[in-house]
């Protein structure tokens, strides 16, 4: 089978799975709506102000979309970052960018932003501002005046910057008005919520840009595994590759935090799962991560909002519960030397 065919088949299969999961997710929720009513709502037969219409179209559908977009972005960023740093433990949050974005949002929430639509957009803007600050800091540390990015330093710089912003968030929390505290902590746990169509559209565009940046360099990422020097000797512009991938992964990660909140482990687990199934070729991993990540987070979020209904678990709880044992599994298999 030609590699094109194999890719198309794999992505197609996963996409079908995603659609099936999304469709199923439409039918489950806290509000008791019959499947027939859900279908009526989707096809437009139900009245626009009816419960099934509002719940299905204004709550469930946007939430499913956010989960899919966020999962896709995190998984692709994870693949990119793991390939860039040649480190299987690399996760988008280690970039430091999500810490900066979270800091931006927490600052905004502390000042009570979010009450009006412009303020909600302001929160998103603050998230990107924080992310940009963090990315600039990471780049500055990693380039260290030489003008070229040192990969080992990049990882370290990301961790340092992430820790710094984490500490800054902790400072804010310790000083925060008691009434706001609950809300800020709730956001920090990582909870998905429906967002307006405009924001969804913007999220989708940013995802497409980040995905494009990474996908167009998937072949070079394979070569990077040979080491920077060897990759350069094969004709790869290593500096531009590093910068492009860093920018793409940062954009994806920042978008997730801005539109969906801080969610961990997706960017770690999904790439590894896919690598176990499909092998190490990034040309396969990047597109399948897009669809596979979307499916993964969608399943996690559907569980989160239904297992203890009407209460909701944070989706971050579900992904962490998957993440910890997964780490153990990773350590054991690598320790035994099997690949």
């Amino acid at each position: 089978m030609s590699p094109h065919a194999r890719l198309a088949l794999t992505v197609g299969g996963l996409a079908a799975l995603l659609v099936a999961v999304a469709a199923a997710a439409l039918f489950v929720g806290s509000a008791a709506i019959s499947p027939g009513a859900v279908i009526d709502a989707v096809t437009g037969r139900a009245a626009p102000a009816s419960v099934e219409s509002v719940v299905t179209r204004a709550i469930r559908l946007p939430r499913i979309a956010v989960a899919a977009l966020a999962g896709a972005a995190l998984a692709v960023a994870g693949v990119a970052f793991q390939a860039l740093t040649r480190n299987p433990l690399a996760e988008p949050s280690v970039l430091g960018v999500s810490g900066g974005a979270a800091f931006g949002v927490v600052i905004g929430q502390s000042f009570g932003l979010g009450l009006t639509v412009p303020e909600a957009m302001g929160l998103t803007g603050l998230a990107f501002a924080g992310a940009l600050l963090a990315a600039a800091a990471v780049y500055a540390i990693a380039a260290a005046g030489r003008g070229t990015i040192q990969i080992q330093t990049l990882l370290l710089a990301g961790v340092i910057v992430g820790i710094f912003f984490s500490a800054a968030i902790t400072v804010i929390i310790s000083l925060l008005d008691v009434n706001r505290l609950g809300g800020v902590i709730y956001w920090l746990l990582g909870n998905l919520a429906p967002i307006p169509p405009g924001a969804l559209g913007l999220f989708a565009i940013l995802l497409a840009v980040g995905f494009g940046l990474v996908l167009s360099h998937a072949r070079e990422l394979n070569l990077l595994a040979l080491g920077e020097e060897s990759a350069q000797q094969l004709g790869v512009n290593a500096e531009r590759l590093k910068l492009t991938i860093f920018a793409g992964a940062a954009l994806l990660t920042a978008s997730v935090v801005a539109f969906a909140g801080p969610i961990g482990f997706v960017g770690l687990i999904v790439p590894h799962l896919l690598r176990m199934l499909l092998g190490p070729d990034n040309r396969l991993l990047v597109p399948t991560a897009l669809v596979g990540g979307a499916t993964f987070l969608l399943v996690a979020d559907t569980l989160a909002r239904n297992v203890v209904a009407p209460a909701e678990l944070s989706v971050g709880v579900i992904t962490s519960f998957c993440g910890a044992p997964f780490f153990v599994y990773l350590l054991r298999t690598r320790y035994r030397g099997t690949l």
Partner: protein, 303 residues
Amino acid sequence: MRATEPGRTSLRPPTECRGLAAPAPVTPPLVEFRSVGFGYPASARHRARPFRLAGLSFAIAPGEIVGVIGPNSSGKTTLIRLLTRVLEPVEGEIALEGERLQSWGRAELARRVAVVPQGVPRELPFTVRELVLMGRYPHAPGRFFENPADVAAARSAMEATGVLDLAPVPLAALGGGETQRAVIARALAQEPRLLVLDEPTAHLDLRYQVETAALVRRLNRERGVTILLVSHDLNLAAQVSDRLLLLAEGGLVRLGAPEDVLDETLLADIYGCDVRVESNSATSRPTVWVPYTTDASPRRAER
């Protein structure tokens, strides 16, 4: 045709002469270094003392095998990096096929010059086939997947190094010798005119050292690939190379036929220990050996 020097003593060039010792090649050189200089930036603290490559001038003729020898930190690796544009020279110029190296694009350069590094990174998860196909990148960097022509070229390269049977095997499962052959195949898949091998026999068992040497000579004779072989193994370099390039402390000390370059006094001076060179009737190349059980001090010139 390569020239071989008759006796050593009468035609041995003076040590101060830095330049071509062999007769100038008839065809235009494939690679030319003209007074190339390089120094790592002052901030590079990983070096005990500042390193500088200076006044390096030599040429490599198409179709020949040149061995680069010298002590550690003499500039052998730096030479490869300069040749492949991983580093840019601070002084002088490098020419490939008569054109300045700077005017070559990266992919273009990779289609001419292929480097066989000392191994592959540990835990590289790819199969032999996937590794060899990576060598096709410079031929179409914009292409996402390799096309049938790429697959055919990779196949041919694997055949030449005898790893075709191992194509679907993960690299992690291979031994040292097989891995080396896979890496050479990857370089061959680039279809280069010049193949640069960086310490190809380091860490290899004797059998695989012999295999690698034979492979290198076969590639040179049957495919006309020009070879630049960097090695600390003086005997291997002597037996395989047409000419030897001796580097020490960033400078070219001697370039010429093995018999001329492998001079006892010179080597003792450069390596800082007692070195013996003997002629070997079986290989018609000099053999270098070192007396390990005596005091390591340079021998005074007596002979």
